[in-house]
């Protein structure tokens, strides 16, 4: 069959090449959207961890000043015996730790609360809040 050049459509090879190019662009776009979404989700997690760390510090302070703790005041040992623990927030598993330093000479409590977690993207995060407990004059 004699086929005129100007009447022929696209060949299979041309179609395949254009499909591959389009697919690559779509995949690239998809990853870009995914990255944007990941950024937003991870920012939310950071904010949640920050709020949790704040709450935890306040809890520690309230417990300290309400004398609801195991006495370690004289020795400077852990005055709020509380094990490190794994917590869940917004679908992320974070490890949480509280470092407490109590100087035996001056009895100044200094507390650090740290949340560390790894996002599904593989990125590591850490939020650390520290506070010297200072009682207001009554």
């Amino acid at each position: 069959m004699n086929r005129l050049n100007y009447n022929r459509g696209f060949t299979l090879v041309e179609l395949m090449v254009s499909l591959i190019i389009v697919s690559i662009s779509i995949i690239a776009l998809y990853y870009m959207f995914l990255q944007g979404q990941t950024l937003m989700i991870e920012q939310n997690h950071r904010r949640a961890a920050f709020e949790k760390a704040k709450q935890k510090l306040i809890e520690q302070e309230v417990r300290y000043y309400s004398n609801d703790y195991e006495t370690g005041v004289d020795t400077g040992e852990d005055f709020l015996a509380e094990p490190d623990e794994e917590i869940e927030f917004q679908g992320v598993s974070a490890s949480y730790s509280v470092t407490k330093i109590l100087d035996p000479d001056n009895d100044v409590p200094f507390v650090t609360v740290t949340y560390t977690w790894t996002e599904s993207s593989g990125r590591d995060y850490e939020v650390t809040l520290a506070k010297s407990f200072i009682k207001r004059a009554s």
């Binding site: 100007y6 650390t128 200072i134």
Partner: protein, 191 residues
């Protein structure tokens, strides 16, 4: 050359024109999206700076409340903390200063020795590895802290903090990059 209209496919010119229109459309959409993400990044960083600076202010205000006296020298605030309530609370000096090398606001609690509790209070997060499209770390730094007595009698202290979004472009204006925020705290325990 005569062309049979019924059998004709798209000509190369038609295909090219369609492709150019479609590409422009997609590029425009993409630009809108990336602009949105950038705006989100900027606003999110501003919010983070504000949130964490407010936290730092809370820390400072608490200490100013109990301070019996204050020294203000060249962007450094020193507060004398008296012993309150007997044996459970230490007395001595606590100072706040900006470390120019790493752009952090630090609190040096000298009640336990000169550098025992020298703590970074801003930026709050000590480690964060967020990368915007693999480009840079999302961080901010403390550029300046100014302190002054807010009244003639030295009962209150005004704190001005300037923090900078280090991820913003260099040519962006100050309103985008900088957060200037102030507070005034009363020295309730001043002798």
């Amino acid at each position: 050359m005569k062309r049979n209209r019924q059998n004709s496919g798209a000509t190369l010119v038609e295909v090219m024109v369609t492709l150019i229109i479609a590409s422009s459309f997609f590029v425009a959409l993409l630009k809108i999206y990336t602009y949105g993400i950038e705006q989100y990044g900027t606003i999110s960083m501003k919010y983070k700076m504000y949130e964490e600076t407010s936290w730092a202010f809370e820390q400072m205000e608490e200490i100013i409340w109990v301070a019996s006296s204050a020294n203000i020298t060249s962007s450094r605030l020193e507060l004398n903390i008296p012993e309150i309530g007997g044996d459970a609370y230490g007395s001595g000096w606590i100072e706040f200063y900006v470390n120019g090398r790493d752009h952090t606001l630090r609190m040096n609690d000298r009640r336990n020795g000169f550098n025992n509790f020298n703590q970074q209070i801003l930026p709050v997060t000590s480690r964060q590895r967020i990368r915007r499209f693999g480009a840079r770390e999302l961080v901010y730094g403390v550029i300046d802290a100014q302190y002054e007595f807010a009244d003639d009698y030295g009962y209150s202290i005004k704190i001005d903090l300037t923090v900078e979004d280090l991820t913003a472009e260099d040519d962006e204006d100050d309103e985008v990059k900088l957060l200037k925020i102030s507070t005034v705290a009363f020295m309730e325990n001043r002798i």
